[in-house]
Each structure stands twice: as C-alpha cells, then as structure tokens.
Amino acid sequence: MIPELGNFSLILAFCLASLLVIIPMAGAITNNQLWMSLSRPLSTGIWVFMALSFACLAYAFLNDDFSVNYVARNSNSLLPDRYKFAAVWGGHEGSLLLWVLILACWSYAVSLFSKNLPMDILARVLSVMGIIIVAFLLFMLLTSNPFERTLLNTPLDGGDLNPLLQDFGLIVHPPFLYMGYVGFSVAFAFAIAALLSGRLDAAWARWTRPWTNAAWAFLSIGIALGSWWAYYELGWGGWWFWDPVENVSFMPWLVGTALIHSLAVTEKRGVFKSWTVLLAIAAFSLSLLGAFIVRSGVLTSVHAFAVDPERGMVLLTIMLIVIGSSLLLYAIRAPVVKGSASYTLTSREVFLLINNIILVVATAAVLLGTLYPLIHEAIYGEANRVSIGPPYFNTVFVPLMGLLAFVLGIGTFSRWKRTSVAYLKQQLSKILIASLAFGIIIPVIVTSEFNISAIVAVVLALWIVFSIAKDIFDKTSNKETFIKGLKALSLSYLGMQFAHFGMAVTILGVCLTSHYSVERDVRLAPGESEIIGSYEFVFEGATLQQGPNYQADRAVIQVLRNGEDYITLEPEKRLYFATGAVQTEAGIDVGLFRDLFTALGDERGDGSWVVRIHYKPFVLWIWLGALFMAFGGVLAITDKRYRSKKIISDSKETTKVKANRSTKPELVAQS
C-alpha cells in the first residue's frame, strides 16, 4: 500500500509540474496576474508530493519491503538502519528520486524567498524549473520507477547494498552533491527567464548571485566529501583519481566558480551580460551531462550505475533538448543585450575576465580528457580503446591553477574601471618579495631538500594569503580598532576572502601531500615493522572478526612515535555475506599536519600480509580548504544587500566612499 502511495504522489507531482510549465508561462506571456501567481502554490504542491513519495520509499526500505524491486536489489534485512535509509539513494532509481526531490526543494525555496522578485520573472523562473522536473519525472515514471513491485515470488531477502556504499559517506555525499549540481538549475532558470523577458540587467545578476553561491557552496562540500570518502574507503591512499564521474561533478564546479565571478562583474558594472548567461547555461548543462554519464554507463567508472543503454538514450535526449533549446534561445536573444560601461586593461573587470578564461579553459580540458576515450572509440572502432590517465589531467590542470592563483593575488587589489599599473606594483611588490622569501625558506628548512614544485605551491599559497591579509588590513585601517574595522566590512567581501583563503589552503594540501607523502607497500609478517620518519609501524598480525553483515580480517598495527606507544590502527578487509564482495577499510590516524594511513592488502601466506603504510602530510587541508570556500559562499549569501532595495542603495554609497579613498594612494604613486 505504502509504495503505491509513493507512486501515486510521484504521478501527482508530475501533473502539478506539467501545470507549472504551462500556466505561469502563459500568464507571463499574456500578462495574466492570476495565472502567474499560481507558480508559488504549484511549486509548493510539487515539493510536498515529492517529499511524500521519498518518504514512502524510505519507509519501504526501513521495513524491508522486498516486494519492491528496487528495495530487494539494494537492501538486505541484516543491513543497519542508517544504511537502509541511505540505500534509498544507493541505486539508479532512488538516486534519481533524490535528484528530482532536490530539484523540487530548490524551486520551492525560490518561491519562498522571492518577495522582491517581479511576478512575471518569478513565473518564468519557476516554469523553467517545472520543465526540468517534468522531463525527469517522465524519465523516472517510464524507465526507472523505484516503486515497481514483484508481487509473485517476492524474494525472502534483499540482494544487499554494494559494500562500498555501506559507509557514512553514502549518507552525506550524494545529498550535498545533488544539492550542488541540481542547484545550478536555479541560475539556469533565471538566465532563461531573463532571455525570454529580454530583461538582462544588474537586478537579474543580483537575484541570481545568492542562488549560485548556495549551489556552489553545496557542490564544494559535496565534492570534498566524495574525495574524502574515496580516500578512506577505497584503501588506495589517493584522494582524487580523475575518474570520469569525479570529472563530471568537478566541471560544473569549475564553471560555477567562473559564473560567480562573472555575475559579480555583471551586477556591479553591467558588462559581460551575454557571457554570464552563457556560463549559467553551461553550468547546468554540465550537471545534466553528469547525470547522463553516470547513469548511461558510456564510461566505465567507480560510480557507474547499472548499465542500461535505453535509459542512456532517454537521458541523452533530455540533455540535448535542454542544451539545444537554451543555446538556440541564447543565439536569438543574447545579442540584444549589450554592456555599455568602459574599462581599461588593468581593471578588476579584466582580471575577472582572465579568471573566467582560465576556469573555462580548465573545464574544456577536463571535458576533452573525459570524453576523449568515447571520441576515439567512435572514430577508430570499438577494438581500439584508449584511456586518459591522471598524467594528462595533471599536466593541463596544475599549471592553469597556478596561473589562477597568481592572478587572484593581483585581482584582490584591482579596482573597477581602471587601476594604474604603478598602484598595483606599489601594492604587490612587498607581497611578492615576502611570499617568495618565505615560500622558499620554509619548505627548505623544514624538509632540508629543494623540491621546486612544492616551493612553487607554497609561494603561490602565501601570495594569496598575504594579499588577503594586506587587503583586509588596508580596508580596516581607517577605523580606531581592527575589530571595528572588520565589523564595518560587508559580509560578501568577507565571504570572498574566506573562499580565496580556502583556495590557498587547498593548494597547500594538494601540493604538499603530493610531493611529501611517503608511501610504502610492504609485506609484513606478524612482529615485523616498517619505519617512516619518527614513526614505527609494528604489524601484530590479523585476526578474523564478525560484523553485523560481514566478517573481517582485522589487522592490529601498533604505531610508535620516537620509540614510545602512540596509537593502534586497525585496518580491515571485509567479506560481505550477501554478495560475497570484498571491501577494504583503512585505518587512519587523522592529524592537522599529517595523516597516518594504513590499509590491508592481500594475504601472502604464513600470516604475512601486504600492508599499505602511508605518511601523508597536510592531506586534511585539501578538504579543509573546500570547507573554507563553502563557508565563504554562505557568508556572501547572508549579505544584507540581497534582502531589500533600500539597503542596496546604502551599500552603493559606501562602495563609492571606499573607491574615493582608494584613489588617493594611486595619485600619490603616480606623482
């Protein structure tokens, strides 16, 4: 009964979404207030029924209703309750349900926080989101209904959730990730609405900004969680593999980052409008590409769901229709909107443009690397397969990010319209010297070796941090105390600096852990040990342990620091009963400056095992940086500017005052 209720609410949500596509849009065209005003209650209705439907599926999982196909395939009566709940999105159908539920959440949120929005814009935005909801619900109802039943021969027990997914990571990673890339549908809907109405102005950019920031912040956390999960769960000791599915979540993030910066220019200066719209379309298109690649199985990957070409074709069709029609609309309407403000070569506009070019080029390179095996296969036939490995991605991506970090420092001090080169030199020369000096000296002293890549990374990270610090001190120097000055700064400014600081932290984490990690894969018999620096890892043998739905070989590795007991790590190798799958659980000692990572390999006879023992400095910083970035994004949303019109004019005046103040040193420098 409950699954039928879920199915029924899914169909109701589909009907309401169809109404949402037609009525408010027709209202916006014919200027019918009543029709337009229906967009809010319809969005609410869709959200309610999607939530109900989701709750029904969760109920079926928690009560082991194995007559539901999807539950039987992805759950098992022995599974702990928290994983039964998370298993709702552990397979294709359920994760699609989560996808649409989150889409419904976003459109409900838009309808809630849109008091300042003109009714016709709101109607168009929600209608566009309705189109996407209709497409995906149709796809779900026709090809991947999670509520399908087998009433005859109901299985006695489920086939179990993939052991890889039986982890805390499954509970948090997909919801955050989906909140992120489904969230870009809001920016997309605003862009389409603006193109349809022909009103592509600063106000449009101001409405879009908080939604883009929110989606971007979620996506940052989602990607970081995925990377962290892979790190401790896969037992390879890596944290990013340039796997196709990692790439498809990363591309919307890169374009989303470009979009955030381009929106800033469009809001403040009214230029780059067409470009910004294109980025908004691109960000969501890449999210759709992600959905297609993950669910069609065209690329083999860790994440691929059950391969089904038919589903792939439907998704490909949805994707091509959405992308094609929005680009067509763009081609017809975008040239109408033109920017008028002028700016010089060394203005903030141009530095943000450079940021955009770098990010888009990086995205294109990642896209090429991800799709290249497909292109190659299409040209040379199925027998001639190629794969693109991490060396390609690292060679292209790392230099581009280095360039981005360098421009970031300069951009911090640039002003809108024009910034004199002399002013930039005066602001940046000390920072350059300081970051070069500390960036070279610190790594050499600490490690007593000269590793050029690590030094470049430290110099760039310091370059960013020093620019942030100097800019904040400059901006607070006119108040009596630093704290008072800090309070006077706008939240969106602080958000920006937090996010930039996060970038420096991530750069340090990525580069230091790549260059200074010590990785040993050794064969150890009980009692033998391996020494890395001041740590000694003593392997005390592995014993058989029973878990709720698995049995495990659990090793005991005693870690000594400078000869004294420090910690005991217990990496496991689990065998899950239901599927017979083997799964590695790493034993990790987490620290701010280094992780000690151990994982059990395979048994090699006489009680000896191959053991991975890694010493990974600064690895935590990779994810810490992402948290800073996400926090910066959230901080920027809370800026008063987005609340009401009156305060907006106030903040414009304060920026004027700031601009006046900042021109003074410029004049001094020129004279």
Partner: protein, 147 residues
C-alpha cells in the same frame, strides 16, 4: 584606436593567448597521458614496441598466480585472452577483487624479456563486472578458456 575598440582587441588578445596556451598544454599532455589498449594476442604478435606504455586487458589465467612464494610484495601471473598468454609482474597491493579466472586490466610496458611490467592493476568494484577492456579482449580473440 578608439577606447572601445582597444578594449575589444585586448579581450580578443586574452582569449587567443589563453586558448593557445591551453591547446599547447592539451597536446603535450595528451601525448603523455594517453594509454592505448591492447589485447594479449596483439602483444604476442609484437604490435607494441618494447618500453612503450600501454594498457592490457584480459583474464588472470587460472593456476598462474604466484604471490606468497615470491619475495616481498612481488606478484606474477599470466594475462590471457584464451588464445595467447602474456606474463605480468607487479609489485604492490592487489585490488580487492583480483582473482584467478576473472578479468584484469593493467597499465605498464613490455620489458626486454617480453614480460609485462605493470605499474598499476586496475580495481574492479563489482564481482560480476568484467571491464569493457577484458570483454573486448575475449571477443577479439574469439577463443574460450574452457577445456
């Protein structure tokens, strides 16, 4: 030049420079990072030059796996497409689902003794899953391993 034209030229300049750097990097990197896939039969025919990096796919020949009796973390096995066998050596941790009689994909090169030196054995994440490469190798050889 007038101001707007100068501005436009500058932007075009940035974009051209950006794409030039990007294309250069991509071409260079593609050269480095691409791994062509070959089947054991193709390797046995000597299609692949010694020392060149590539990816081999096939099955782990039943009865060919040697681990415990070798030094340290060394592993030896035969990668087969049921028509030809290629000896493979690898040092390190084997993936969870590495088993005799199941699919395997490895990155590496053929040394002067005709042995495939694997730098990486790819992990599979589902016991039913045979990688596309392994399936392709089996189909290409047309042979079956059943006696």
């Amino acid at each position: 030049m007038t101001a707007p034209r100068k501005q436009r030229m500058a932007i075009v300049g940035f974009i051209v420079a950006g794409s030039a750097i990007a294309i250069g990097l991509v071409l260079f990197a593609l050269n480095e990072g691409i791994n062509v896939f070959y089947t054991p039969t193709e390797v046995a025919q000597g299609v692949v030059p010694t020392g060149q990096n590539f990816r081999i796919g096939g099955m782990v020949k039943t009865g060919s796996l040697k681990t415990g009796e070798l030094e340290g973390t060394l592993v030896e096995f035969m990668a087969t497409d049921c028509a030809e066998d290629i000896p493979v050596t690898f040092t390190g941790v084997l993936p969870d689902l590495f088993r005799e009689g199941q699919g395997v994909v490895a990155d590496g090169f053929i040394d002067s003794n005709g042995i495939f030196q694997a730098s990486q054995i790819l992990a599979k994440h589902d016991e039913n899953y045979m990688s596309a490469e392994s399936v392709a190798a089996m189909e290409a050889s047309g042979a079956t391993c059943d006696p």
